[in-house]
């Protein structure tokens, strides 16, 4: 179809030409997917090329999110509108005066919509002729963005200044010309500058690709049609989500999620995120104002990250709704300043990913599991950021500096409509992938001693949660320093409806030796000596429903496969299993009946 045959762009493209509307809807997604494919192929850092810690999006002229790629990092998505709109506010002039054709702008400022400082973003305007019609955005996690700690995550930073280099919106490409002095300032302040130089190149290429594809679409269908398709797509998502809210009963639900502690406080008391969900017709209000005040340490999040967690978890419950600004619009957020969910500069926010984002996710899941239990799950594992760095001591690598950024998967929670659940990336990164052992070992002086599912780590339940995962690392060639930032050492992922909580986090130095030490969740630059081992267990998911009612054959299967030990089967599920002389586990029916009906049965809610 040529541009000439396209109908006039009056509102209502969706109804006038539903096929064209769908074509454009998919074309937007296809552009973002193509950007994602480019980033994966061209990236320098492992967490992007293999781990998938990136995103590429399209926003309209106002900065509203229109489309994102299918492999885009979940947690980025909800923050993009804040970055683009925040930038438009920051510049203080008409966008057209500041964003010129072929410009690329760089930004990572957590207080202008970003997440943590490591997530660097490029933004490029899309002009069609004289008309600014859209913005293309690309984010990539940079392995290091400066500061005190290799890998930058410093749980003991007390303000934004200690959390790495902050870059407000600046031109990195001006009308097609790379601004090398600007790049030099940034690269002079960070570790792995050469890797970052390559990743910067990739991010510029990605937004250029998006810009070119959008211009091709506009040339083909006309800018008016493109603009109205973007706006209608947003309206479409809003309408779909409101339809879902309308189906729910009206009412109010209060939920709470606890984080271990404030790393900046002497107190060991937990800190809380709280939400009141109010459903009234097709309106949903999420009021977070009852949450605790700002943390002194890193366990704060910007408003952008809090809202991002909300919309991502809504999308997980209602996955058929296209992710765009419409999802935000369907919810009325009450998120006043003065809580740990709406941090104000310069409060430290690097724990937003590992602590606050999962806590907000728990609030959404805990509220909706009461309303649509068949679409939800019990508590999933949270995120633990681990960074290690030092001098590479391997032969042939002498003198080179390395930084290794790890992110880990764990278990998701039990589900009413499924038998059990499987290991997955965290809800921060549902779209991401793990980083292979073989590549880590090639790029960094580390040896993995295991990467395995840990028995008895799943939250027991009729619907079992997924098990957790244990990794062990040792360092045969050199010392390293380790920093980590996480949560969930006190509280394992929560069980529901009689299901048990999953076992909490564990992170040990030199396990089983005299030097054994718990690394904990808030360590800054812990020296790890050459030859020592680290043991890191990332939790499984909470159970759903009474584990003592789980069908015996499911429990037997879990024992045969080693997900549950024979002792665990008796203790957590009331199923007695003996191992025969031929090595085959078999159910002791009589004793199982005793366990399941007798006084041995633990009261509901007891920890597994």
């Amino acid at each position: 179809m040529s541009a000439a045959t396209v109908p006039d762009a009056t509102p209502g493209l969706r109804h006038r030409d539903p096929i064209l509307f769908q074509v454009l809807n998919s074309a937007f997604s296809s552009i973002t997917d193509e950007m994602g494919a480019l980033v994966r192929r061209a990236a320098f850092s492992l967490v992007v090329s293999e781990g998938g810690d990136y995103s590429g999006t399209i926003s309209n002229r106002a900065g509203d999110l229109v489309a994102s790629g299918v492999t885009d990092l979940a947690a980025h998505l909800g923050t993009i509108p804040f970055t683009v709109k925040g930038t438009l506010e920051w510049i203080g002039v008409q966008a057209e005066e500041w964003f010129h054709p072929a410009d690329v702008v760089l930004i990572n400022d957590p207080y202008i919509g970003g997440t943590h400082h490591n997530d660097m973003r490029t933004i490029m305007p899309v002009y069609f002729g004289e008309r600014l019609v859209a913005f293309i955005q690309n984010s990539m996690h940079w392995t290091d963005i400066g500061g005190h700690v290799p890998g930058t995550f410093d749980p003991n930073a007390r303000s934004s200044y200690g959390e790495g280099l902050a870059v407000p919106p600046v031109h990195i490409v001006r009308e097609g010309v790379f601004q090398s002095e600007m790049a030099d300032i940034i690269l002079r302040n960070i570790r792995l500058a050469e890797q970052a130089r390559g990743d910067l190149l990739t991010m510029i290429g990605a937004v250029r690709l998006g810009e070119r594809r959008m211009q091709e679409l506009a040339a083909r269908y006309g800018a008016d049609v493109i603009v109205s398709a973007m706006d209608e797509l947003i309206g479409y998502s809003e309408q779909l989500l409101r339809e879902e809210f309308r189906k729910l009963p009206d009412g109010c639900w209060d939920v709470e999620a606890l984080m271990d502690r404030d790393p900046g406080s002497a107190s060991d008391e937990p800190i809380a995120a709280r939400m009141t969900l109010t459903i009234a017709g097709d309106h949903a209000t999420m009021d977070f104002s009852g949450s605790d005040g700002p943390a002194k340490g890193a366990m704060n999040s910007s408003r952008a990250v809090t809202i991002s967690s909300t919309v991502v978890h809504l999308k997980m419950i209602f996955p058929h709704i296209p992710m765009n600004q419409g999802v935000f619009r369907a919810v009325d957020f009450v998120l006043p300043e003065g809580t740990l969910l709406s941090a104000i500069f310069p409060a430290p926010v690097s724990g937003c990913a590992a602590g606050v984002y999962p806590a907000v996710g728990d609030l959404i899941l805990k509220a909706f599991i009461e309303l649509v239990p068949e679409r939800c799950m019990a508590g999933p594992t949270g995120l633990l950021n681990i960074v290690m760095g030092g001098q590479d001591g391997r032969p042939g690598h002498e003198g080179s500096e390395f930084v290794m950024y790890l992110w880990l998967e764990g278990g998701w929670g039990g589900r009413l409509s499924r038998k059990d659940n499987s290991v997955a990336m965290t809800t921060f990164a549902t779209t991401a992938t793990n980083q292979p052992v073989e590549l880590h070992e090639r790029l960094c002086p580390v040896r993995f001693d295991c990467y395995r599912i840990e028995p008895d780590s799943a939250g027991a339940g009729w619907h079992r949660g997924a098990p957790g995962v244990t990794r062990r690392w040792s360092f045969p060639w050199n010392d390293v320093v380790l920093s980590d930032l996480g949560d969930g050492e006190k509280f394992g992922p929560w069980g529901w409806a009689g299901g048990r909580d999953a076992r909490p986090n564990r992170f040990l130095y030199a396990p089983g030796t005299d030097e054994e030490l718990s690394v904990g969740m808030f360590r800054t630059n812990l020296p790890v000596m050459q030859g020592r081992m680290l043991d890191c267990f990332q939790p499984g998911g909470g159970g759903y429903g009474d584990p003592f009612a789980r069908p015996v054959e499911y429990v037997l299967d879990d024992v045969i496969d080693g997900f549950v030990s024979a002792e665990g089967a008796a203790r957590d599920y009331g199923v007695a299993i003996n191992v025969d002389a031929d090595g085959q586990p078999r159910v002791d029916v009589e004793r199982t009946t005793q366990l399941r009906t007798g006084q041995h049965r633990p009261p509901p809610g007891a920890a597994g």
């Binding site: 990236a43 290429g205 996955p319 793990n434």
Partner: protein, 700 residues
Amino acid sequence: MTAWRVGIDTGGTYTDLVAVRGPERRITKVPSTPPRYEEGVLEALRAADIEPAGVDLLAHGTTVATNAIITGSGAPTALLTTAGFRDVLQLGRHNRGEPFDILWDPPPPIVPRRYRYEIRERLDWAGGVVEPLDEESVRTAVRTAADRGVRTFAICFLHSYVNPAHEERAHQIVEEELPEAFVCHSAELLREPPEFERTSTTVINATLMPVVTAYLSALEHRLRGAGFEGRLMVMHSGGGLMTAESSARFPARLVTSGPAAGAKAAEGIAGGGLGASGSPAAAVVMAQELAREEGLDQVISLDIGGTSADIAVVRDGKARLVTEYSPQFGQPIRFPAIDLITIGAGGGSIAWVDAGDLPHVGPQSAGAVPGPASYLRGGTEPTVTDANVVLGRLASDVDLAGGIHLDTSAAREAVGRFATRLGLQTEDAALGIVEICNNNMARSIRVVTVNRGLDPRDFTLVPFGGAGPLHAAELAGILDIRRVLVPLAPGVTSGLGCLYVDIVHDVSEARIVSVDDADVADLRQVFGRLEDTMRGRLAADRVDPPDQRLEFAVDLRYVGQVRGLTVTLANGRLPDHVRDDLQERFYAEYERQFHSVTRDIPVEIAALRVRGTKGVERPDIPFRSAGAGPRWTERSVITGTGQVTARVGDRDRLPIGSRLAGPLILTQVDSTTWVPPGWEVEVDRIGNLLLTRVAEAPVS
């Protein structure tokens, strides 16, 4: 006298044959004969009246590998891994089929945890031995698994792609302990990281080895017994041919790249055999040929068989290739393959009514046995074929391939029961069945076009399969596609495609060196080694040196980059000024692919590659008989806008250049073309039918 070259494709429902000898050609179509598919192959030769002794080349596409994976009927397999890493297969990479959907589940691992054994051994990233192979732990694992009845073993150790010594020794030990075992280790399949993709490929390959070996030896045995002395070659999903020996060793290459996008559909297909074709890639190869011949830029290839339909997109004369494909989500196979999707919609798809009184069609299929009700082979469920009979689009007075005769009253009876359930007239119910089926296919065509930002309206639809040309025009209407090209022998396309493909092999060697330090002599030496290996492989496939075509390429990237890009060497030789030449080509290609380039980061060589092919002579197949014009009859056909009288004629008798207006039914032995009212058809210079929509589609 020259010998026959025969292409035979065994799908879940039909086995298609195309044979060429000089100017002669034969085509035939017989029912497939699961689970003993080899019988169908022999039957096809008999039906075509071709003596196996007179066949020089038998190019074969088969569904056995795909079927085994989708139905989980591969051999029970044990996996030996490095100690500490037995869960790599299960943990995978965590890609999710539906990234956000809480209810999404990955398919269970092909080797359950109970059959995954940890072996004491360890290599480092450079292939150095950290811990030697504990041979006793291999023996113990083999015995334990053997006690549980396992006879098939996959071996994947960390870093074996650099140093395969431990895997090779473990492989030997398995064979020592259990001489009858099927064994494969990862390094013989794939010399690249990372561990999960390599493990998955190895496990799928292993579990298929007994299945494919049994099938191909049964087939070969039957063929040899019948006097066949020629070469048996097998079609793989990359669109090339392999010897039977290579196929038994690398059976993962035979798995169709189709169902990846349609995991849910594949579940439904599982019961009824799989695939419109045994090798859907062969049909796509034909679509490429047609697109080239007809000068079409953008083609949607749609192959509708008895149980399923395969859909692929050909742009600029080429189907998209993928480097990795998955028969089911999360089960990657790392071999190059043609990109296509398979859905559970075909002539045998069963129409049914759910608990809420809503009608559905498929994905369950009646297959070839018992088949549609109108086949009178024991099937009683109403199928899409039965609906077409009721509507008058398939005639009872025509003998179909395989000697099948359609029975109208059986079709009416089956569709009638479905109609009663819905409170409809039989004819309206039949229209509904066809419409639902068409809409299912339209949705999937949107997946391969619209979801990739392509507008289906810009494409020409090329229908294949017995049922393709029957549905194509109305399906095109739904998608607002205005042109449909019905090829000469649409019902046996995959069989024909098998005769058009090349023998293709790929070999590579990692060699990481900065472009600045590259030594031309050293690189030429590596290429020399690769060339020797390649010529050996081609010779093993009986390709004579003059027919061996080699292509040389270099993987380049910036220092510090994880992946990069491949540059093909124009004249097959490394230039003397390696540095400047490769660097400039890298910059140009980098800018083109990644839209941004710098000279501030040094460039390095990552690997050298050689691809070896044998070009087959393209069969110039004289499918046209003298078109004296058909003897027209008339028949009443039911359409969405009412009953019309259609002319019915023999397609093969249409003269070149004829232009006719629908409604028309054009019959041929392997297919039937339905030209609805509002469409015109032209017989083009080659004999293909070009259908064009002349009136606006009725609003449906």
